[in-house]
Subunit: 601 residues, 2 copies
């Protein structure tokens, strides 16, 4: 074909020249006999003018929105009064000599604007993606991939592929399964991550590996999860956590600089998990929000007020204060709403103090708990929190983790409600996570990262002696309150790995059955190694400023794991299932069995 | 950790310096009290010397092959007499001061050489991959990916991801299926290729797309097929086949230059499918092999010899000759073996002539068919084929396609047997394929490429009138006799698409059911578009000089679609299957049901 330029790139530098453009009719207007038409391609829109005596006029008259056309014409500068500085092509127009209709279009089934509902957008995704916003999102994502690869290729990483048809891993989330035709009664699983394969690649001596890997989790989808998602997966041999973190930081800085031209801090700040919980009530603190939780245990332990004094004295409890600058203006109803909000996170109550006059001691306060305080307690609290006239303080008391968490959630909620989130990029590392979480319901430990994460103290006996106290060599990278990625130094000692399996309730026999190939591989000189993985859907959403990861995925699924465009999943003929040695077992009254998304059988 | 250099990169430039290396013990030797040790990492091997009085000596004495160690030492130049010019590190050695054992190793369960059988190599893939040959293969593959992306990124292609959990496409090969938990009785399919998605991306206005995409086919595996494979998938809007081909050629030339430093011809030669079959008896001719098939119809049509005269006169048959230089030396047994060989490809016989004296006319020939020839026939054949003294000519006669094919196979076989394949890279395009193949068994047409390929003549009525004669806008890229990739200009006219579906026996209703979303998308100003896909496993094998694609895949499956390392596929508990609304249906005497590869239930 004969395209000479992209529509969005015809500028005054081409004035007087003939161009041939291909694209879609964006809109047409008839102004005093002249026909004006926006012509849009992936690079942008250009204005085409068809004069009434032009040979192109009869063809142009028949054009409607989204018709696909080829236009040949001459670039003409517009008079300055008609410049449109919003558009790269806004100082010129193309005077058409010839218009060839490449394909007509039926009327659009959607508005092609941000007003369209998500259902119609996903059903007609091929039209939704024509919108400049979606074109830009997907291009930013591609630029992000390019920047990632450039950064890692320069640092001797080797891009390697790991299998999609692999073995079920019984820990973790639910696997998607694939029946085998050749091996009756057996199933492949789609990988939740390439974790074991990347560790095996280190045992293979591959030294530094990365992959932009598709991963799969058959979970009940929360609003912003997808059944298949993309992760940047990295692993390195002969490294410490500091080396993994330094390389990751360089990577992130380079991506933000290449894609957005933004500079991130160097180095990123670093918090232990304990400190992050203590100061921000979160393992992924949003550092764009001013203000921190303040522990006031020392100032209230002596009070008669048991709600504070009890937690302040107990080693696994706390009393945390959060200052709300200007918060004295909050109504009783607003305070009640915040109390209900934190109840979702386990708060039994939410004490508060309004500081009407910071210079007046207890007299200056308005609070249901003021009567329980003494001047010493208040002056300690006031100094620790920095409370000033017009502020409000919220207090959370109780179990250390619960109180930290609900106060952390309150901090986020207040910041968004009061619009105090500062602009910019605030990355940080969170480190030294607990190795294990105890689950009271099942009466067992669960791995906080995953069962292959190394403990800070490599002594198997120390780990066995006090697992609850053990910290891990795991680390998370947090950006603006979102977890961008996480990783760890792994266990490379087969004995230590078995101790961790033991503590997780996976005995020697079960370990061999489930992870035998990993345990076997650890026996042959496995190198010290570690790595990290980044969720690229979320990362792309951050880079494009989108709320939803669905807006940075070309063909996403709904929250019920359907593709509205292709109507997947779909029914399959019994004969085809028989070849795979499976049979559908559908209850007659199963509401989903005759799902209306359309199927073939 | 403290690694200062890679083992394989310690050269005389570092003489006198202290280095810290990490790697695996490649072998140890005790020479007159000195301990010599090869230390290997991903970059290569370096020789480490441990002197008897060194503090490192006690640790060194305990090392065995594949122990993982960190060595600190001083680089020392070897005397010239001890240079090993085979190794990049062959002029130096590292005199160890300290050796830290990072991980011991059990004795290797395989030889770690080319002598290892494939089964043990795949079971202990993580050890097999430590071999320099495998390290190199995977790095060449990664370099190929980098070169591909550089080439396409420069040409405004956008890297986009398409779903892995998608809708079953009932045409083509068997799909791998994934039961849906949320939608009982419904299944996702893994994509055989992103074909429909990439066409939809063109309708999305994405203009130029590529993806290094994982694809899946549940086929009975031939020796060199994998159930999952990787393809470079490309699609472009507003292009002709020549533009797709030019960009593909640039891509391939850049990859071969970047990865191997090899220059490929520019432009690539081009043959129509008809000419490729006529001259080489193949739709993927190996142009490294000298000699072509020669049609001798005009020289033998007048003979009484019906075996030749019949095919020579019929328009859909032929008599093809293949000259074997020096072939007069072939024994009767060898000729018989070739006759049997071509019988596999449908040959009913294989006539031959030995040219004992090219100057003596019929008198100079030795052949069972000499008596059927006359001087005119022979001189015509001799001139057309270039037969000289000492040569042999083989003749294939019969149905045009059958005779062409078995003579093409004979050409390949002879070249490999007689070692006449010339070195170097011989790419070419094969174009103008028939649109359809008629299958006599099922009494219907099949698409030679796929049902979305545009016919050369865009008139739907012309196509309907004589489908058997229709040629397509498909093209294959062939390199050294392997199909590297294939593609086509696609249909963008919904009416033409329906005519093709009709001819393939897919009625309007069935088309809507199977491909409704594509037909719908074609209604909204679909642009003219086309693309191509390259099989990257085969391409990587060509670049590394490997015979088997399994040697360029980190974790391949066997020909029965198993992973010997992880023992996938595996049995799954009934409860987990019930959640997916399926049940295993395994015959009690099914031999595979209790497959010994090991499972969990």
């Amino acid at each position: 074909m004969n395209r000479s330029h992209y529509c969005g790139e015809v500028t005054e530098a081409l004035a007087g020249q003939s161009v041939t453009l291909c694209g879609w009719v964006d809109r047409t207007r008839d102004l005093g006999g002249l026909l004006f038409m926006g012509l849009r391609d992936t690079a942008g829109v250009v204005q085409v003018v068809v004069e009434p005596d032009s040979e192109a006029f009869p063809a142009a008259e028949k054009l409607r929105n989204e018709f696909c056309v080829q236009v040949t014409g001459t670039v003409r500068e517009r008079p300055e009064s008609q410049w449109n500085e919003q558009m790269a092509t806004g100082r010129i127009e193309v005077v058409a000599n010839a218009i060839e209709l490449l394909n007509a279009s039926a009327p659009m089934p959607l508005l092609m604007t941000d007003e369209d509902g998500e259902e119609v957008r996903l059903k007609y995704r091929y039209l939704d993606l024509r919108r400049p916003r979606m074109q830009r999102n997907l291009k930013v994502r591609a630029a992000m991939y390019r920047a990632i690869r450039n950064s890692l290729d320069e640092r001797r990483f080797v891009e390697l592929e790991t299998p999609i048809l692999t073995r079920a891993t019984p820990e973790g989330a639910r696997d998607y399964l694939v029946p085998s035709r050749v091996h009756a009664g057996q199933f492949f699983a789609l990988p939740q991550s390439p974790q074991l394969f990347k560790q095996l690649l280190m045992m293979s001596g591959m030294d530094r590996y990365y992959q932009i890997a598709r991963c799969f989790r058959d979970e009940d989808l929360r609003a912003d999860r997808q059944p298949e998602f993309t992760q940047l997966d990295m692993e390195l041999s002969f490294v410490s956590e500091e080396e993994v973190q330094a390389i990751s930081e360089d990577l992130i800085r380079e991506v933000f600089r290449d894609v957005l031209g933004d500079d991130l801090p160097q180095p990123f700040p670093r918090l232990s998990w304990r400190e992050a919980m203590e100061r921000f009530g979160s393992d992924k603190p949003d550092l764009r929000i001013p203000g921190e939780l303040v522990t006031v245990d020392g100032h209230v332990a002596h009070l008669e007020f048991k709600v504070f004094a009890g937690p302040a004295a107990a080693h696994d409890q706390r009393v945390a204060a959060l200052r709300v600058p200007g918060g004295a203006e909050l109504s009783r109803k607003q305070i009640d709403d915040y109390t209900k909000y934190v109840a979702r996170y386990g708060a039994k109550g939410l004490a508060w103090i309004k500081v009407n006059d910071a210079g007046a001691g207890l007299e200056g306060l308005q609070s249901p708990i003021a009567k329980f305080l003494d001047e010493g307690a208040w002056s300690g609290i006031a100094e620790a929190s920095g409370a000033a006239t017009g502020d409000l303080l919220f207090f959370g008391a109780g179990d250390w983790q619960t109180a930290s968490t609900f106060m952390g959630q309150l901090r986020l909620k207040l910041a968004h409600d009061r619009d105090t989130v500062e602009p910019g990029w605030k990355p940080l590392w969170v480190t030294e996570f607990p190795m294990f979480e105890w689950d009271a319901e099942t009466g067992r430990y669960y791995a906080m990262h995953h069962p292959f994460t190394a403990p800070l103290d490599p002594d198997p006996e120390a780990l066995r002696a006090d697992p609850a106290a053990a910290l891990s060599r795991g680390y998370d990278l947090v950006l603006n309150g979102s977890e961008l990625g996480g990783g760890s130094i792994r266990i490379h000692d087969p004995k230590l790995q078995q101790v961790v399996f033991d503590l997780l309730g996976i005995g020697a026999e079960e370990a061999v059955e489930k992870f035998g190939f990993l345990l076997e591989a650890l026996r042959y000189g496995a190198p010290p190694h570690g790595g990290i993985a980044f969720g690229l859907d979320r990362w792309a959403a951050l880079l494009t400023g989108e709320e939803s990861i669905r807006d940075v995925i070309a063909f996403p699924k709904t929250t019920t794991a359907q593709c509205l465009m292709t109507a997947a999943p779909s029914a399959i003929a019994d004969g085809q299932l028989a070849e795979l040695h499976v049979r559908s077992v559908v209850e007659a009254d199963q509401p989903d069995a005759s799902n209306e998304a359309g199927e073939s059988d």
